[in-house]
């Protein structure tokens, strides 16, 4: 089984100033893809979401409260904590669902990666559109395996559970480095830093994209790049 690696910039990503990149790799069975991806994405977003900001006079603000909840996986011996926000959960499930479908339709090899990118918006003057400047990029490389019998599946349940535990520890290690985070914005700037569209929590601006690798393992021939969180359209 591949171990997790941490590379500065994965191939294909645009290097950007101050953008740190983390790569995690997992091998899972087809039916485990969704839960494994959700576990990782939710864990990252747990750390990258705050309560809703409420700006007051004199530029101060108060912060709402983030609730959390336990999620048990059905196909993996694993549980994780996510932010209590149905909207956020729906958005992630949608992205992961599309990724899973794309993996399934791509052929027997089942390799791909899903990326979660945190970015800041930088306003530009007309006629230029606003820039999106990424500051943190998480990439999960997935390798889908096919198993022959029930016994192998049971072992896979446990092994993938253990692997995910390692990934959570890795994620927490990165979070604990207290590296660059965007400055807390003024009221006029808040939409350039945070996603304020959700009603109960406020994650940093993020977008999720994925790529399916072809069977030769070369860089993408079938690239299906879907943006779940869009930047401002032209």
């Amino acid at each position: 089984t591949p171990c997790s690696t941490h590379r500065r910039t994965p191939p294909g990503a645009t290097p950007a100033m101050n953008c740190r990149a983390e790569v995690l790799e997992v091998s899972v069975e087809g039916r485990q893809v969704e839960e494994a991806m959700l576990a990782v994405l939710h864990t990252v977003l747990l750390h990258r979401s705050t309560g809703k900001f409420h700006y007051k006079k004199e530029g101060t603000y108060s912060i709402g409260t983030v609730g959390t909840q336990d999620v048990d996986c059905d196909f993996i011996d694993f549980a994780y904590v996510r932010v209590s926000s149905e909207e956020l959960d729906r958005a992630l499930r949608k992205a992961v669902g599309e990724f899973k479908d794309a993996l399934r339709n791509s052929g027997s090899d089942g390799m791909g990666q899903i990326s979660l990118e945190f970015y800041q918006k930088k306003k530009s003057r007309w006629p230029f559109s606003d820039e999106c400047i990424p500051w943190e990029l998480w990439t999960i490389k997935v390798n889908v395996v096919n198993l022959a019998n029930e016994q192998e599946r049971q072992i896979c349940r446990e092994k993938v559970g253990e692997k995910l535990c390692e990934k959570i520890i890795n994620i927490v290690e990165v979070m604990n480095r207290h590296e660059y985070l965007p400055k807390m914005p003024t009221q006029s700037e808040v939409d350039n830093v945070f996603d304020t569209s959700l009603k109960d929590v406020q994650p940093y601006l993020y977008k999720i994209s994925y790529q399916i690798t072809d069977s030769l393992g070369t860089s993408v021939t079938t690239t299906m790049r879907r943006l779940i969180k869009d930047t401002l359209a032209l």
């Binding site: 209590s84 400055k183 807390m184």
Partner: protein, 550 residues
Amino acid sequence: AMDTDLSSQDRKDLDKFIKFFALKTVQVIVQARLGEKICTRSSSSPTGSDWFNLAIKDIPEVTHEAKKALAGQLPAVGRSMCVEISLKTSEGDSMELEIWCLEMNEKCDKEIKVSYTVYNRLSLLLKSLLAITRVTPAYRLSRKQGHEYVILYRIYFGEVQLSGLGEGFQTVRVGTVGTPVGTITLSCAYRINLAFMSTRQFERTPPIMGIIIDHFVDRPYPSSSPMHPCNYRAGEDNGAVYPSVEDSQEVCTTSFSTSPPSQCVFTVTKAHFQTPPPVVTDTLKVPVMGLAFSHQLSSSRLSYQPAALGVGSADMGYPVLFAGGLNAAHPHQLIGPGKEGGVPPIPSQPAHGTQADQERMCTPLDGVHYSAATPSSSEDTETVSNSSEGKCGSPHDLLETIFIRKVGAFVNKPLNQVTMANLDIPFAMFAPKNVELEDNDTMVNPPDSPETESPLQGSLHSEGSSGSSTGNTHDDFVMIDFKPAFSKDDILPMDLGTFYREFQNPPQLSSLSIDIGAQSMAEDLDSLPEKLAVHEKNVKEFDAFVETLQ
């Protein structure tokens, strides 16, 4: 010299943050070992009392244990706060699984902004703790507790003791936060040789009749210090705007509140405490599973009242009266070498932090008057009266009952798992033990306080077959030898008879309980305008739908 750079307000704030961070850390750890899924709600409008902007409930007993262990001190170099998680089998063997350590080292970060950066990083660290508590081996064990073992916690303050974890224990670091007075570190050391404790071994046995452990004999109501709105404001750190405090007067005289308005707080007056409360005999191993969340019994909305001045810097002691150990004869729960297939021999160890424990006494409430935030109806203010008199909490008076029933998914923690003394009724400890609560739950047979060394011994039967008797007398119905036709013992781990008995009184679904997550009713009301707005937007759809019905 270290403090000269830190303004006194910053220093006060920092101490407060560290104190409440320690309390919340304990809550997260203990709640993660209850064996249930935790769920709290996000709230877009600040409730003003959620520390670190996270919805973490406060189990009063746990807060109390933590405060008792800290005894007014803060983690410092050489003085760490430790939460020890251990497992105790139905045969009385116990074993340490994890030690969570909140430590302070000397590395200072003078430049860091207390009211802003430290606070936010502590919040981040709590999130990391939420995540990490689910990935150590003890989590899965704790989710399966109830049949053959329970998970216990113990809090101590002082030097970290890792010797009980066996050889080759592993450590995971949760995170660190630098402050001007030192760096806070949070980590977990956990036992890894759990091979013989494979959870598979525990899956095939039927539930045993158990006992609830309630180590609070003279226990008043779950109470906490008076509530104050946490008017915490953060400004931007670009220097142009400065953090402002809405009401500096209030901040000085009050403490940041510890928990959301989901607890009942009661008025306690000095007059009720005629006798000094009994001394705590030892640190208590508290069964995590048997705890009830007091908020489940509370009414929803609290109104805030300014606090009366209390002991020390608004750190009100609990009007608590505690006694005894979990196990009358062996307060430290270090039962001897295990049996085959059980726990390996544990070297007998000195009591952890014994000195600190014995030095701690419950402070008598001299001249202290608490004002309370009352629930929505002021008539609900309760008083503790006479519960402490004459009850010096001899361990033999302990009501020992552990709920062994496994709580299924989606289930609200059933009322019948509430230990009697957690009920918000006066003289709870005198109430008949087998009161209505357990009428419905015939699986639980609380015996009177057993004096045996192994409280579960009398009720343990390892056979899975039907007709198991419990040896205890409380029965609303008679257990019969239930061998339904065509049921098979050998294939399923549980035969039909056992299944029938176990599930014939299912606990209530959480979705049917009124107080899900114990969030305040006001929050629900607050969200009504939003919901109405959404519905109003969809009025056309609703109308169209109605049309189709006609």
